[in-house]
Each structure stands twice: as C-alpha cells, then as structure tokens.
C-alpha cells in the first residue's frame, strides 16, 4: 500500500496501514519494555504497599499547537497532574487517539514526539494505546484520551474531609496563563501577547511537598473553571469556609490586562501546571519553602486560610474594601480549552 502524508480511514482499520502507523510513529517515540511487547493489555508491577491512584482525562483543545505546548504534552501533563495531586507517584499512562481523516502525519508525529518527551520528563511510561480514525468532519483534527495509574505511599492521604479550620492554602504560582494563552492564540481574536501556557508536570513539585510534610490534607490542580472552581469544590466537599486574599494571589500583569479588557475574572481562567494545596498551618512555612525550590513552584504563595467564611463558601478579601463571594463559573467561559 502506498504511504500517504496524511491520515486516511485505513489508518484506523486495524490492517497494514494501522500497523505502519504504530511502527513508524508511536513505537519509536513512546518506546518502553511494556509497550514494545505489543500485547492487548499491559502487564504492570503493583506497589508492595500503599494504594493505587487512577485517573482519566480527554483532550480536545483548539488550537492543537499553542504557545507553551501542544495537545500531546498537555494530554500527558493533565493526567500526570491529576494523579500527582491525588497523592500518587505517576507510573503508567495509556493514550487513545481519535484522528480526523486528513490530519497530516507530520502533525501527528510532532504531537507524539511531544508526548514521548513529556512522559520521559515526568518519569511515566506510555504502556498501552489505541488509535481510531473518523471521516473528515467527524472530529476536529485530533482528540486524545489519556488515563494514568500512580502509586500512593502509605503515609499519604489527600482528602478534602481532612481539612481543618486554620489550614493554610498555598498556590504554586501565577494563575490564568493557560486560558489566556489559548484565548489569544485562537482565530478571530488577535491580541499580541507574550503569555504562554503553563502546561507542565507537577509530580516533582508534589514529591518535594510531601517530603516536607506528608500530612498535606488536600491538593487540586485548578484546570477548567480556574482557581474559583477548585476552591468552591473543596469548600463544598469539606463543608468548610475559605477566605483568600486578592493581593496574595500571583497573577502576571499581561494576563490581568487581558482579563480586564475582556471582562474575565482571572479566578475563573484555566491553568494546566498549577496546584492549590491545603496544609496544616504550622507546616505551611516549610511546605512553601520546599515548593519555591522547585521550578514548577518558584512563584508559590500562601493565598488564604480555611475559616473566615460561611461553610461551603469561598470569599475573597479584595484589594478595595471588604470581602466578596467567589463563585464557580457558570456556563463555558471558553470551549475546548483542554
């Protein structure tokens, strides 16, 4: 069969073209012992102690290449981060591709290479995968699902129910970078900005945090819906009030300016490489300094505490006077952001 430069329906047919795609594109870029055996299912080592963390996420971002990353690295970071903030050490991930007929194979190679590099940087192995092709118009270029498994050490218990009054809330860096980078790289809204996505793995940062304080109560990575959504979910799940301080929240000036122009609340804007952690007040200092030593946490800051608001509610001390309610976003601020 003649090789083409773009994806055809044959690439998803399970025949020779599918095989070529696996051998030419995926295997060389993802290679590891488990994957290379090409079994129908991956056989994995289990942890001797502790528990497993398991997470799945689908990625439909538009555009597929954006300032600071692409859909491939994002699919790895997204799943790695979900495992990491659950307290797990990410080990294995699966990837499922839905490709649109006509996607240039060069684009797929670039995305797969970026996934391979991201997996290597995170210390995870891509151990199983699948590819389907849909007719032109049946999907937009490429959709990726990734699932991951991580090992949770015995001493670690990330759970909103463990949050106590007075716990400190630490944010690992500036918010809104990903959402604004995507928004400004979309067609139809031409803003000149230097903002790049913060898409990055957080497992190294989490490792350093848990070494400093294994008793971290809760962590979450504020992706879609931004910091406001994460804090509201945690406030509801823990039945505690949360009070944050507007002045303490790190935001890049460029991001804030674009939010002002477009009337967005930066607290609702998506991130792809940040986490928010709830730690016992007395250990907040050592967790914060451990975070600041990591590249992914160099701008970390204590942004608030548990208490000072009605249970289940998030309030913010504004730079003006008084407090205001911080609500989760209603509807979709921006579709297809991850």
């Amino acid at each position: 069969m003649r090789k083409t430069d773009f994806i055809t329906l044959a690439h998803g047919g399970g025949g020779k073209a599918s095989e070529e795609l696996i051998e030419d594109v995926f295997l060389p870029l993802f290679s590891n012992d488990i994957l290379d055996s090409l079994s129908d299912g991956a056989i994995l080592d289990a942890p001797k102690t502790g528990k497993l963390a398991f997470s799945t996420d689908s990625f439909v971002i538009d555009p597929i290449f954006f300032p600071g990353g692409d859909i491939g690295s994002l699919a790895v970071h997204g799943t790695v981060n979900d495992i990491a903030v659950s307290g797990g050490v990410p080990r294995y991930i699966s990837v499922g591709f839905v490709l649109e007929e006509g996607l240039p194979i060069a684009a797929l190679k670039k995305i797969a290479a970026s996934m391979g590099e991201a997996a290597k940087a995170c210390g995870v192995s891509i151990v199983t995968g699948d590819t389907k092709v849909v007719p032109k118009g049946g999907a937009d270029k490429i959709f990726i699902n990734s699932s991951g498994i991580g090992f949770v050490p015995e001493a670690v218990n990330i759970n909103p129910k463990r949050i106590r009054e007075g716990d400190s809330i630490i944010l690992s860096g500036t918010i809104g970078d990903h959402g604004i980078a995507i928004l400004t790289s979309r067609k139809g809204l031409e803003f000149k900005t230097e903002t790049v996505s913060d898409s990055q793995p957080l497992n190294g940062l989490v490792k350093a945090m848990l070494e400093a304080e294994p008793d971290i109560r809760m962590m979450r990575d504020p992706t879609r819906g931004g910091l406001a959504a994460s804090l509201n979910e945690i406030a509801k799940a823990s039945a505690k009030g949360i009070l944050i301080d507007e002045k303490a929240i790190p935001v890049k000036r460029g991001v804030l300016s674009i939010c002002e122009i477009l009337g967005l609340d930066v607290l609702n804007v998506a991130n792809e490489g940040k986490l928010v952690a709830f730690v016992p007040e007395e250990s907040s200092g050592k967790v914060l300094s451990a975070m600041k030593k990591e590249a992914a946490g160099k701008d970390s800051a204590i942004i608030g505490k548990v208490g000072g608001a009605k249970p289940g509610r998030v309030e913010m001390k504004t730079a003006f006077v008084g407090n205001r309610i911080v609500e989760s976003l209603v509807g979709d601020q921006l579709p297809r952001i991850c």
Partner: protein
C-alpha cells in the same frame, strides 16, 4: 498598572464614603443606569459603605437584558435558514427566546459564529461568498457606531452578502420612559461609555425635571465619587449634569461616531424587554445602506407583544421597581446556570450580579 489599580484604592474609598455619610441627610433613591455600575457596587461592597438613607436601584443598562424575546426569535429563525451564517456576540447565545436560545439552535445544526467585533462578521462574509451573513447587532450607542462602521466596511468591499439584524437601542427614549415611572428616583448615575458617544445633551429632560445626573465610569472610586456628586446636588437642591468620568467622556461626545451612526441608521420603534415599545428608540440600516437591513432582505417582522415567563419580574427589575431578591424565582428556579429571565443570563444582568456578588452581608434580603 495604569487605570487598573488607581481607581480601586481602599483608602480613598474610605474618605469618599465618609464624605457621603456626613453630607447626606435626605432619604434618596439613586438609579445606577448600567449593569457595569451594578457590578462595581456589589463586587466591591460599595453598598455596604453607604448610609441607610441612600438606596441604590439598578437601571435598564444591560443590552443583553433589554433585547426582546421577539428579536431573539428573529435571530433564531434566521439562523435556521441553511443559506445563513448568523454572527453574534457571545453574551446573546444563552438568552432564552420564546421557545429556545441561539445556543440550542446551534446545537440543532444552525451555523452560528461568536464574534468579538462586527468587523469579524464582515470577514466571515468575505470568506463565504455563497452564504448570507447576518450580524445580530445588540447594544446601545456604545456598539451601534461599530455596527455602522462594519456596514461601511462591507460597502467598501462591495459585499452583497452581509446583513445586520439590528436590535440596537438608543438611550434618550429610555431616559424619558424612566421619568414617567411610578417609582420616585432622586438622581441618576449615568452611563459612562454611552455618554462618551452621545454627549450630555440628552440628560436635559432629566435635569429639567429636577433630577441630578452624574456621568460615571465603572471602577469603584468612579461610582463612589459619582454618588457623592449626586448627594451634593440633592442636598443643595440643584439638578445639573456633571461628568465624573472626564478621562473618557467629553460633553459633546464623539462626533465622528455620531456621524457614522446617522449616516447608516435611521430611528425606528424598538421593543425593550420588560418595558415595551419605545417609539423611535431603535436603529435600522436605511437610506444608502438599506440593503444591509436583514429584516428587509429576509422579510422579517419583529413582534412587539412581549410576555414574560410566569413568575418572572425582570420587567419590574429593569425599570427599577423591584430588586432581584423580591422575585420568588431568584436563586430557586432561576439561576445563572438555568436562567428564566434575561436579567439572570448576562453577566451584566441585575439578577446575575446579585446572584454572584450580592448574597452576603447587608445586601442579602
């Protein structure tokens, strides 16, 4: 950062608030015209700084909220035409018409594009010569000049497939309508950006009727200082137009924007959601630009009979007669996730603002 923090200074706010508290004696009701004003009032807790004798009432200045169901239904009907691409600002997509919203129409297969500027709609027209592109134009004098400019752009590109479904509304007519309301209003915080286009002459009927008018920006210090200016007028028995937003607004307005609006549009009757028909209060493409009028092109007539959903009091809220917290549906059947009335849909709608920022402290009813 320039203009991002100076007007949110808590210390200066305290000073102005103290001046308001010491100078204000009369029991007064001030209408803040714009949704943007209401957001600042609630988001920054300004209401909590005001003495009990000052009541702030939200006005009809949310373009999304005052767009009539019939206008939305007309947009939906056009979007269902397979030859049409409907271009709209994002805010309009979720607003319920009589039976559905544009978002639902999009889900059912209509080609609806969200644009940030009408010029983007003109670009879509240029890129799709075999389709008819209809821009669903909403807003007051702030957006109308931009729509007019897009029509002139399409004309200069000699595009035959660009049309405007105008739901534009103008401010002078609504001001007179508010004067006729049964609720007593003692002063107005007037729209900053509309006035930047129109100039201040349109407030004369209000000041003639003894109502102080202060044209205000949208930052918390803008609003507070505007309230102080209204209070001073009320207390001394003066009624005149003042501008507290002089960094943006000139008394004569923006003459070029006025001119381009006048060139492209002529006045027509407009249906305000909750208020009804106001004669000569809308804008339609006319004269040399008549061919851009979507109503003429597609032979559409916009109904003028508006009925609100049972229980919804958006009409009264838009006229300053009631507050969102007076509504039985507020925060029960009607929420931003599942809005019944238009005031809950737009981010600048009074009910949505109360839902997001107003459910705490003194502002909880």
């Amino acid at each position: 950062m320039k203009y991002m923090t100076e007007f949110r200074d808590g210390k200066i706010a305290g000073k102005i608030a103290r001046a308001i508290n010491s100078e204000s004696n009369k029991k007064i009701r001030i209408m803040e015209f714009c949704g943007g004003h209401t957001i600042s009032l609630l988001k920054y807790g300004i209401q909590d700084l005001l003495p009990d004798n000052i009541e702030m009432v939200s006005g009809p200045g949310c373009p999304v909220c005052v767009t009539s169901k019939a206008e939305i239904d007309a947009a939906i009907e056009l979007s269902e035409n397979p030859d049409v691409i409907l271009a709209s600002f994002g805010d309009m997509i979720r607003v319920p018409g009589a039976s559905m919203s544009l978002r639902q129409s999009k889900a059912k297969g209509s080609d609806i594009r969200i644009v940030y500027s009408p010029d983007d709609a003109v670009k879509i027209a240029g890129d799709n010569p075999d389709k008819k592109i209809v821009f669903f134009a909403v807003g007051f004098e702030t957006t109308a000049p931009v729509t007019a400019s897009s029509v002139k752009l399409a004309e200069s590109m000699n595009l035959k497939n660009y049309f405007v479904l105008s739901a534009h509304k103008t401010t002078p007519g609504i001001l007179s309508a508010l004067l006729a309301e049964e609720v007593r209003l003692d002063g107005f915080i007037c729209p900053g950006h509309v006035t930047a286009i129109t100039g201040t002459a349109m407030y004369k009927p209000l000041t003639d009727a003894g109502k102080p008018c202060v044209v205000s920006g949208f930052e918390p210090l803008d609003i507070l200082s505007s309230i102080l200016l209204v209070v001073r007028q009320v207390e001394t028995g003066i009624a005149k137009t003042e501008i507290s937003y002089s960094r943006v607004v000139a008394p004569s307005g923006n003459l070029r924007a006025q001119q381009i609006m006048n060139e492209v549009f002529s006045p027509t009757d407009a249906v305000w959601r909750g208020i009804g028909v106001i004669p000569d209060n809308g804008l339609k493409a006319d004269g040399d630009y008549k061919r851009f009028n979507a109503c003429a092109e597609f032979d559409i007539e916009i109904e003028t009979d508006e009925k609100e959903t049972k229980g919804c009091i958006c009409d009264k809220i838009l006229r300053g007669l009631n507050k969102p917290t007076d509504c039985k549906l507020f925060n029960s059947a009607c929420t931003p996730e599942d809005p019944i009335g238009a005031c809950m849909v737009s981010d600048e709608g009074t009910c949505s603002i109360y839902y997001r920022f107003g459910r705490k402290g003194k502002t909880v009813a």
